[in-house]
């Protein structure tokens, strides 16, 4: 009898497994249909790097070389010269080797003025590696394309329809919960 019971248990277990599998047929699959539907990545997602300019087209970057020093993969190389009129430095060359970059966002952490930022554009696959040696024009272009970007100092910023740069609402910000919870607490107090 125990043998029969064993067989019955085995058949039952296989049947349960098969039912478990087949019931998925009636469920909607979570596929996101990538090339046909645009991905909505979270704003802090690190897919590529960009150099943000101010609204008036001036350079945010002060060429302090902090990002170059912070980079673990050593892919940033910058050349600069002293600004003949006024303080600071001007960029001669600002190259990021996006081929060898490990997308750890250490440079973004290091940047004191939130000039170098992370963006969500991941569609960089190419037939030719030379397209990925990013110079300053390419990095600016990446920033101009993107609607939102992230840097630890200024948080998530968004580009509005009319080209202005604004801070994103707290729902998109890391640590935005503090701001979201504040009005509720104030209401409770009042």
């Amino acid at each position: 009898m125990s043998l029969l019971n064993e067989v019955w248990q085995a058949v039952k277990a296989i049947g349960t497994g098969m039912a478990t599998v087949h019931k998925r047929v009636y469920e909607e699959a979570p596929t996101e249909f990538y090339p046909y539907v645009e991905l909505d990545l979270p704003p802090v997602s690190v897919q590529s790097l960009a150099l943000v300019e101010n609204e008036d087209g001036t350079e945010r970057c002060i060429v302090c070389l902090q990002c170059e020093r912070a980079c673990p993969s050593q892919v940033i190389s910058i050349e600069r010269h002293r600004n003949p009129e006024g303080k600071g430095f001007l960029i001669d060359r600002f190259d990021i080797d996006l081929v060898n970059c490990m997308y750890c966002s250490a440079c973004v952490e290091a940047c004191p003025v939130s000039s170098i930022v992370t963006i969500q554009d991941f569609e960089l696959s190419t037939y030719d590696l030379h397209t990925l040696k990013a110079d300053i024009d390419f990095l600016h272009e990446q920033a101009r394309r993107s609607k939102k970007w992230y840097s630890p100092k200024l948080g998530v910023e968004i580009r509005t329809e009319d080209g202005r740069i604004e801070k994103a609402p707290p729902e998109m910000q890391p640590g935005g919960l503090a701001e979201l919870l504040k009005p509720a607490a104030e209401e409770e107090e009042s």
Binding site: A29, P30, T31, E32, Y34, P35, L39, Q47, S48, P72, S73, Q74, L98, V99, N100, C101, M102, Y103, C104, F122, E123, L124, S125, T126, Y127, D128, L129, L132
Partner: protein, 184 residues
């Protein structure tokens, strides 16, 4: 790399059309080789998961290089692996393509300064599509696979294929005086 084994652009209309048809079929039925190396291999598997599902485009893994069309080099290639990788590539049946996935496979990535890392898999096998990222997200791999699809089926792109870069790479080289296995 046409059906008739010629790299010249076919002038014959009928054969040209047949060539196009076969290449259309090739581009719509790319079977990658099950060859995961490192971090990118996990994202490579994730490209076939329910969320991204590259099987929508008719791609599924074959374990043996004889039946695979695309080799996705998904991770760091070091000098010990390089010989095996080249051998796997040689074992694949023509026509075959290579996708270099991630920073390490492209040019060594963060590990390119190391003593045993090959600085880019294109020193060993000819690469058709490169994906940046460390690791690239699954959608990026899907984009690369679709770029490869366009490259195979599109005449203009196909005949501008970069020639074999790595013909002079000796994968069975003896170590040099400093004990390192020479790369190029």
């Amino acid at each position: 790399m046409g059906l008739l084994g010629s790299d010249e652009r076919p002038r014959d209309i009928i054969l040209g059309t047949l060539d196009d048809l076969i290449n259309l079929a090739r581009s719509r039925s790319m079977w990658p080789l099950t060859f995961g190396i490192a971090c990118c291999a996990i994202e490579m598997m994730a490209t076939w998961d329910p969320k991204v599902d590259a099987d929508r485009f008719g791609m599924f893994f074959r374990n043996t290089p004889r039946q695979a069309d695309v080799m996705i080099v998904s991770g760091t290639v070091n000098k010990k692996l390089a010989k095996r990788l080249r051998r796997l590539y040689d074992q694949m049946a023509e026509p075959k393509w290579v996708i270099s996935m991630g920073a390490c496979a492209n040019q060594g990535g963060p590990f390119r300064h190391g003593y045993s890392v090959v600085e880019g898999v294109d020193k060993i096998v000819p690469v058709d599509v490169y994906i940046p990222g460390c690791p690239p997200r699954p959608e990026a791999l899907l984009q690369a696979l679709l770029l490869l699809r366009d490259k195979i089926s599109d005449r203009e792109l196909r005949y501008k294929r970069p020639q074999e870069i790595a013909t002079d790479y000796d994968v069975f080289a003896e170590p040099g005086e400093d004990g390192r296995i020479p790369v190029l």
